[in-house]
């Protein structure tokens, strides 16, 4: 009843090709963005529950936004282009450390040439974006093998990236500005003279990044490039026969995906963690991102958000519910339970609903469209 598109006639090509052709979708999105951009800051400003303490902003919304951004990146590669990657944590790390180096100034002594390259510290925004760009370049490099190898073999190749960069950022002290402990701190978050410090400011910053990138990604995947990726995913040889260049399609997928993941990594390090060490981007992070995409929905931008929300909230619920019910579990048991639940959920979703929660939502929409008179 609520979700009826009867009477919404598209009279121009532009309307037909809009991102959200249905009015209800547009309204829902506008309301959601309104809540995110205006509602949350207002509530936080007036200390209204549950925003009274910073806990919700700092511990849930901030990681949710950044991980959702990273999940969009992973989804472009895995969900849209069908190139499975277990190295997304490494690309987050590359984004984070390149942004860190650029934000604190790069100095490359080239002793054998007799001079040194020095770049003064760049503004934070620029270094975050350039961090993403660095990740994109490395992503292309590691995407090159995907032209000869595919599927499972590629997964191992991306694992190589993961372990290699774990080691690089742990052992090559140039990247950490020779910090003795190996952990580094982000430079002050200074955007055009505005200092981003309080949780609500950090939240707004990430929200802007995520909104912009989500719209860009959404537009990209429904355009020419996105359709090329999907053709490669569905059957690469057939795609090649109809004139899609696998080289171009695969490498662009790697580049775009690593760029987004790199930006997310830089945000994760700069805005969420503040100071971090290579362990923050280990293989566990890669698997976590892959889970978000599988659970949320392969090949769906919305799925990235749903998956990120789910993976962040489940452990918290597991922590809270048993203790509220009076059967507190030990932290060990909770961790193990989490493992089991995630594992079963992945298997279950792969069997029953390979397109994840996002598909469930769109089934819900289909049903609402006919309600209350199903055929």
């Amino acid at each position: 009843m609520l979700y009826r598109e009867a009477g919404q006639f598209k009279t121009t090509y532009a309307e037909d090709m809009a991102i959200f052709p249905i009015r209800q979708d547009r309204m829902a999105l506008a309301i959601l963005l309104g809540i995110a951009f205006i509602g949350v800051p207002l509530l936080a400003d007036f200390d209204i529950w549950p925003f009274g303490s910073d806990y919700l902003l700092r511990a849930i919304l901030l990681p949710f936004l950044i991980l959702a951004l990273a999940a969009i990146g992973v989804n472009i590669l895995v969900g849209y282009c069908g190139q499975i990657s277990l190295g997304s944590g490494a690309f987050m790390a590359i984004g984070a450390y390149s942004a860190y180096k650029l934000g604190t100034g790069v100095h490359i002594p080239l002793a054998w040439l007799g001079f040194a390259i020095s770049i003064p510290p760049l503004p934070v925004l620029l270094s975050i974006l350039l961090g993403g760009l660095a990740a994109a370049v490395v992503g292309i490099l590691f995407g090159v093998p995907s032209l000869r190898i595919k599927g499972l073999y590629l997964a191992v190749a991306t694992l190589a990236a993961q372990f290699f960069f774990d080691w690089v950022f742990l052992r090559v002290s140039w990247f950490t500005n020779y910090a003795p402990s190996g952990s580094v701190s982000a430079p002050t978050l200074d955007f055009f003279g505005l200092n981003v410090g309080t949780p609500i400011e950090r939240y707004m910053l990430c929200l802007i990044f995520v909104t912009v990138f989500a719209f860009l990604a959404k537009n990209l995947v429904r355009g020419n490039l996105g359709r090329q990726w999907m053709a490669i995913r569905d059957m690469d040889i057939a795609a090649e026969l109809i004139g899609i260049r696998p080289l171009y399609a695969k490498l662009t997928a790697f580049a775009v995906s690593s760029f987004i993941i790199g930006v997310a990594g830089a945000l994760w390090a700069f805005v969420y963690l503040g100071s971090w060490e290579p362990l923050a981007f280990s293989i566990d992070r890669s698997l976590q991102l892959l889970f978000m995409v599988i659970i949320g929905g392969l090949g769906s931008i919305m799925g990235a958000f749903v998956g990120a929300a789910f993976i962040l909230i489940l452990p918290i619920l597991l922590n809270r519910i048993p203790s509220e019910l009076g059967v507190p579990l030990s932290t060990e048991t909770i961790t193990h339970l989490e493992f089991i639940i995630f594992g079963s959920l992945i298997c279950y979703l792969l069997i029953k609903e390979p397109h994840g929660f996002a598909r469930l939502i769109s089934i819900g929409k289909e049903k609402l469209r006919l309600w209350p008179f199903p055929y």
Binding site: G151, L152, A157, W167
Partner: protein, 294 residues
């Protein structure tokens, strides 16, 4: 000599891939489960006053039963329903299985680190007359090599000579054709996962004797992946040779290269090696060439 141990784990991968086309990410978790089941039941039996050899026999039997149950559950609830899906879906489902097994194994059997003493771990000295100091040979490594050899021989006979082995190869070639000539595919897959589970048990006993049974044993599986790539996904001898290459290669690299660039390159050397092999020969050293057509 850790190469032999990598080979043992890689064997489990190869078996499952050969017989069902599933790339089994869960092999490491299976090693963990088998090891924990064995070591915990051993401790329990010994604590209750059984003589050691009875405890060992019973413990291994118990672990084998656990692996059989696991194999049945996996076939029944995960792999069975996913029949005829493409490789990537199956691969991701085994990541899910990995998490279930890791969580369940530690929840049931505890998540500490447990020492396992089945094989002698002291060392022999060989050729003391030829070299100053001689060559240090660990008895455990000899045992590991011996067991790997027996396993390979046994599996080769199993694949080539028995009826089930022939059925396995038929299933690997074409699920549907195998089904249509009356091969029970569910049973075959159960057998495959069972054998993989038993190989995991063997790997767990050898590796557990060396390092103790603990969670980090699952990382062994990640080490086995490059072994697999180098040897070829479908080749049992490839797994052995690949394991030896990786085992020797990473030690040599650590000694000769690692000292120049900071050390610790054991972590990724195997992967870079695998990447290099992939670029030159995508099917691995012993793998079957992949032919694609529409």
């Amino acid at each position: 000599m850790s190469g032999v141990l990598y080979s043992l784990v890689a064997l489990g991968f190869v078996l499952i891939f050969k017989a069902s086309g599933v790339f089994n990410f869960a092999q490491g978790a299976m090693v963990l489960l088998a090891g924990l089941a064995l070591v915990r039941s051993l401790d329990l039996l010994v604590a209750n006053g059984f003589p050691l050899w009875v405890a060992i026999v019973l413990g291994i039997g118990f672990a084998a039963v656990i692996m059989a149950i696991t194999a049945w559950l996996i076939e029944r609830f995960v792999i069975g329903p996913l029949v005829n899906q493409d490789g990537l879906t199956l691969f991701m489902s085994t990541i899910g299985v990995t998490f279930i097994l890791e969580g369940a194994a530690q929840m049931i059997f505890g998540s500490g680190s447990y020492p396992l003493r089945l094989f002698p771990t002291d060392a022999w000295f060989l050729f003391e007359n030829l070299f100053p100091g001689g060559i240090l040979v660990n008895k455990l490594d000899v045992w590991g090599g011996f067991i790997a050899g027996v396993l390979v021989a046994g599996l080769a006979i199993f694949f080539q000579r028995t009826k089930t082995g022939r059925a396995l190869r038929a299933v690997a070639d074409d699920h549907m054709a195998a089904q249509s000539v009356g091969i029970p595919i569910g049973w075959i897959w159960f057998v495959v996962w069972l054998v993989a589970g038993l190989v995991a048990l063997v790997a767990a006993t050898v590796w557990g004797t060396k390092l103790g049974v603990q969670f980090s044993i699952t990382f062994l599986a990640l080490k086995a992946l490059p072994v697999l790539i180098i040897g070829g996904l479908t080749s049992v001898p490839g797994a052995i040779v690949g394991g030896l290459i990786v085992g020797a290669g990473e030690k040599l690299a650590e000694v000769f290269l690692g000292s120049h660039i900071g050390g610790g390159i054991e972590y990724w050397f195997a992967y870079v090696l695998a990447l290099a092999v992939l670029l030159v020969r995508p099917q691995g050293l012993f793998g079957e060439r992949i032919i694609e057509r529409i």
